[in-house]
């Protein structure tokens, strides 16, 4: 082929690619990726389409937090529903980048099933994550497996390589330090930052790795690089399913939800509201739980779950007593200096960690 011909062919193929678009009327929902996205499509998207006749374009992608705010700012919002974390959700709401959730279309019983923290004005909880103390049952013998954060801090009696998380917006390993230091679970917030850092000073030399993402923690447990540490319950359950010798305890666990939210300026707000409502119904959340093993925020979901599965979930009544919810509001609170608690912790952390 001559160069010019080749260029023409290329141009043609490019045009072809950009023309292959989703139907204009489809509801664009960011469903994240991997097995999680597949589960979302199975549990929510397909039944929703079947029930309402609304076409959903499930976008297998994450919505970067800055992009959300840029899209609203530049008036180029091309999506209708997306998942967001509690921390980012609050920030976006404060920045005016969210459409309020229409709770009027909810069934009363479903609404009651959602604890107030799972249904703020700007979003409805989709799944609940637990941050738990996990440990390797192969490398750690019986009796040497930590059962509380105090055990985790006790490096003499519970030897082994350890991991905790780096702070992020709306989260950090400071609460674990306070729990280990004996602060009652209902008094963790507002965080005593000085006390937490003092406690972290003790454990710092023994932490092999401060992880940055859930997948990193999961990989470390999977590859046997660490013996104990903080991880997401869902990730540990996945490892257990794959036959890995990892166990965890809900004792002193912290939990928080991911939320469905609708950006300001979405093209299909009405349909988006209906999708969010559909996806947060107990029955549908139970389907999701059955596929992925993540805890449902809606209590009514437990009516549809078998007892053994229910007992492994952090939102199960027996488990949730040992755990405490994360207070994103405290992290997001802005002080007189214009900085949020998150920012203050991040700055202090950066200095602390390279010392």
């Amino acid at each position: 082929m001559k160069p010019s011909l080749r260029a023409a062919a290329l141009a043609a193929s490019l045009v072809g690619l950009s023309v292959g678009q989703a139907p204009a009327q489809a509801l664009n929902v960011f469903v994240s990726g991997g097995a999680f996205a597949d589960a979302v499509i199975e549990a929510f998207v397909k039944p929703f389409e079947a029930e309402t006749g609304i076409t959903v374009n499930a976008v297998k992608s994450e919505m970067p937090f800055p992009k959300w705010s840029l899209a609203v700012e530049t008036n180029t919002v091309d999506f209708d529903v997306a998942l967001t974390s509690l921390g980012f959700g609050l920030q976006l709401w404060q920045a005016g980048a969210m459409t309020p959730i229409d709770y009027s279309i909810y069934d009363a019983k479903e609404l009651e099933g959602l604890a107030p923290q799972f249904r703020p004005e700007w979003g409805v909880a989709a799944i609940v994550n637990g941050l738990v103390l996990a440990y390797n049952t192969e490398t750690l013998p019986e009796g040497k497996r930590p059962q509380s954060w105090a055990d985790f801090w006790n490096v003499e009696d519970f030897p082994g390589t350890r991991t905790l998380m780096v702070p992020y917006i709306g989260t950090s390993s400071l609460p674990e330090a306070l729990v280990a230091d004996g602060v009652p679970l209902d008094q963790i917030y507002p965080l005593d930052v000085d006390r937490a850092f003092r406690k972290l000073d003790e454990i710092k030399p023994h932490i092999r790795k401060w992880w940055e993402s859930a997948s990193e923690a999961q990989q470390m447990f999977n590859a046997g690089i660490v013996d104990m540490g903080l991880s997401f319950d869902g990730r540990i359950v996945a490892l257990q399913k794959a036959g890995k010798p990892i166990a965890f305890t809900f004792n002193g666990a912290r939990y928080y939800a991911s939320y469905w939210a609708i950006p300001k300026g979405a093209a299909h707000v009405t349909e988006a509201q209906r999708f969010v409502e559909f996806a947060t119904r107990g029955a549908n959340q139970a389907t999701m739980t059955k596929i992925m093993g993540y805890s449902p925020p809606n209590r009514t979901a437990f009516e549809h779950l078998p007892a053994d599965l229910a007992s492994s979930l952090i939102t199960a009544p027996d488990n949730i007593k040992m755990a405490y919810p994360m207070d994103a509001g405290w992290y997001a609170a802005v002080g007189p200096d214009g900085k949020s608690n998150s920012e203050r912790i991040l700055e202090r952390w950066q200095e602390w960690i390279i010392k």
Binding site: L17, G87, G224
Partner: protein, 574 residues
């Protein structure tokens, strides 16, 4: 050169400049505006950085690590590049693909492979324990050592390929000096061969240094908690704090510091461009102090030092008893090559697991994860999309880059040093900062979520790779060949296509590979610019590995690695 052709040579830089101005600097200006709080100008963001001791320390470490990585790559990469250029043609191409394997393996998969290799119970520690060299595991993973290993591994190809391209394009007579390598006239090697290859070494060093400055995922994943890089902080500021102003201020500082470092080393930017022009006109007129220093660094750098040391120790004195120099050379090169492919080998092996999660060694074997990939429409479609975007983006980058680097080397342009930096900048500015600017502009143009949008967004980065590699190659090209061609009656176009391009083909191929991979692996800018209909392969891989330790990723990586091996016979026919 006569004035008309010289004017034309100069003008050849315009397409690239125009492209960058519109697609990179225009968006960046918006970001830079934020850093000074436009329109109410204030230097607060800059003061904030300079007043923060932690930030300054992180900044210093960033440059220190980048320098360390560059030096290490030069020591490892130079012998390997020369070794490769001396290989027989057929085997050589395959080995060259081996060199770029690290680039073909998705970042996250590769990082996981390093975790498996470096951990306390990992392959390396187990081997060392087994042999009895150590009695307790070395803390390789989550240490500065681990971070450096990961970084060097990733950028070593960027050192090897430019040097290879220059050595390959060298005059056969000069190659004879290299051929004499085994015979013993090492002095002629040091004094004739080595200096000839310096344009390639410079290109490699600039490339490696620039990429290393932008590192943040690898050191964060493999290094100790202290191994924070500046880009790490910049990314965090954008991604979680939406503090565009502060992030862009730090980016501007990073870029400025880079320019200062390069200016100090001289040989880097303008020295590179001008040095070549002087070299071809026969003599160095007035080498500036910095460029002389860079020359000194280049010549007395670790590699030359090593070679001199070997010469003095082994060959110079007791040539009969010492190991032949070329045996040491080969052994060193082969070890380097092994280092390059080791993680990829781990990935390939892991891809054939029958288990549900990645593990090494797999407990059972199967092809199930390959089947999973092909059964997954999202993945295969994303792969096709990524492929087309990468092809078109690198063709565009090659066109802009070939003309621009030719202009930089042959055009005798005033301020070429500055232009070179302009072209290099997309590599240094953290992509998340650029992404914010690009989103703003693309949103205004309405090309968010389109294939052209994504490929245009990828091209500035690819262009930097192309220009760095090709300006090194063009410099190694004997200008008299072009004069000869003209004297034989060939038009400029004929000279370009029949003489210049065939002779720099290895450089073009190297540049093409880097720009292809740059686009094929790009994830940060893509996640902003891709809308609701466009999904690329790296995005999908990233998402999968965010949610599960899925061997499918290893399978995809393996297939990407195999691609160039399949494509090779087509290139070799040339």
């Amino acid at each position: 050169m006569d004035t008309t052709s010289s004017r034309l040579n100069k003008a050849m830089i315009l397409p690239a400049l125009l492209f960058l101005l519109i697609l990179f600097y225009f968006p960046l200006a918006f970001i830079a505006g934020l850093s000074v709080n436009a329109p109410n100008l204030s230097a607060a963001n800059y003061e904030r950085f300079l007043a923060n001791e932690t930030m300054l320390r992180v900044g210093l470490r960033t440059f220190l690590y980048a320098g360390l990585v560059t030096v290490t790559c030069r020591v490892l990469g130079y012998p390997l590049a020369v070794f490769l250029s001396r290989m027989a043609k057929a085997g050589r191409s395959y080995l060259l693909v081996c060199v770029i394997l690290p680039y073909l393996t998705s970042l996250l998969v590769r990082t996981y492979a390093w975790m498996i290799l470096l951990s306390d119970h990992g392959l390396i520690n187990s081997a060392l324990l087994g042999v009895g060299i150590i009695d307790r595991p070395l803390p390789l993973l989550y240490s500065t050592f681990g971070a450096l290993v990961g970084m060097v591994h990733l950028v070593l190809p960027a050192m090897v390929l430019p040097i290879y391209a220059v050595v390959h394009g060298m005059n056969p007579e000069q190659m004879r000096a290299a051929k004499a390598l085994g015979g013993g006239p090492l002095r002629s090697f040091l004094e004739v061969f080595l200096p000839q290859t310096l344009p390639g070494v410079r290109a490699g060093c600039i490339l490696v240094f620039a990429i290393s400055l932008g590192f943040y995922i690898t050191p964060a994943a493999l290094g100790s908690p202290r191994d924070l890089m500046l880009s790490n902080i910049i990314a965090k500021l954008v991604e979680s704090l939406l503090d565009f102003g502060y992030a862009s201020a730090i980016s501007v500082i990073l870029l400025a510091a880079t320019i200062i470092v390069y200016a100090f080393l001289g040989g880097g930017l303008g020295g590179m461009v001008k040095g070549g022009a002087q070299g071809s006109s026969g003599g160095e007129r007035r080498a500036s102090l910095p460029s002389r220093m860079a020359k000194a660094v280049g010549n007395a750098g670790p590699m030359a030092g090593l070679q001199r040391w070997l010469w003095d120790r082994n060959i110079g004195r007791s040539a009969r008893h010492a190991l032949p120099f070329h045996v040491l050379w080969y052994a060193f090169s082969i070890l380097t090559l092994l280092f390059l492919i080791l993680p990829s080998v781990v990935v390939v092996i892991m891809s054939f697991t029958g288990e549900d999660t990645l593990g090494f060694p797999p407990e059972s074997w199967s092809l199930r994860w390959y089947k999973t990939f092909f059964a997954n429409r999202t993945m295969t479609n994303a792969a096709i999309t990524s492929f087309w975007i990468a092809i078109s983006s690198s063709l565009l980058a090659l066109f802009l880059g070939i003309t621009a680097s030719y202009a930089l080397v042959r055009g005798n342009i005033r301020g070429s040093q500055f232009l070179y930096t302009l072209i290099l900048a997309p590599m240094i500015i953290p992509s998340v900062v650029a992404a914010v600017g690009i989103y703003k502009v693309f949103a205004a143009w309405g090309i968010i979520g389109s294939v052209p949008g994504v490929l245009l967004a990828h091209t500035p980065g690819s262009l930097a790779y192309v220009v760095i590699i090709l300006s090194g190659t063009f410099m190694g090209l004997d200008r008299r060949l072009e004069m000869a061609s003209a004297s034989l009656g060939a038009s400029r176009l004929r000279t370009m296509f029949r003489v210049v391009l065939p002779l720099v083909a290895p450089g073009i191929l190297a540049a093409g590979i880097f720009s292809f991979i740059h686009s094929f692996d790009e994830i940060v800018i893509t996640s902003f610019v891709a809308g609701v209909t466009l999904q690329t392969l790296p995005q999908q891989i990233w998402l999968i590995i965010q949610y599960q330790i899925d061997p499918q990723i290893a399978a995809v990586s393996t297939m990407i690695m195999i691609l160039p091996f399949i494509a090779l016979p087509f290139f070799r026919r040339r």
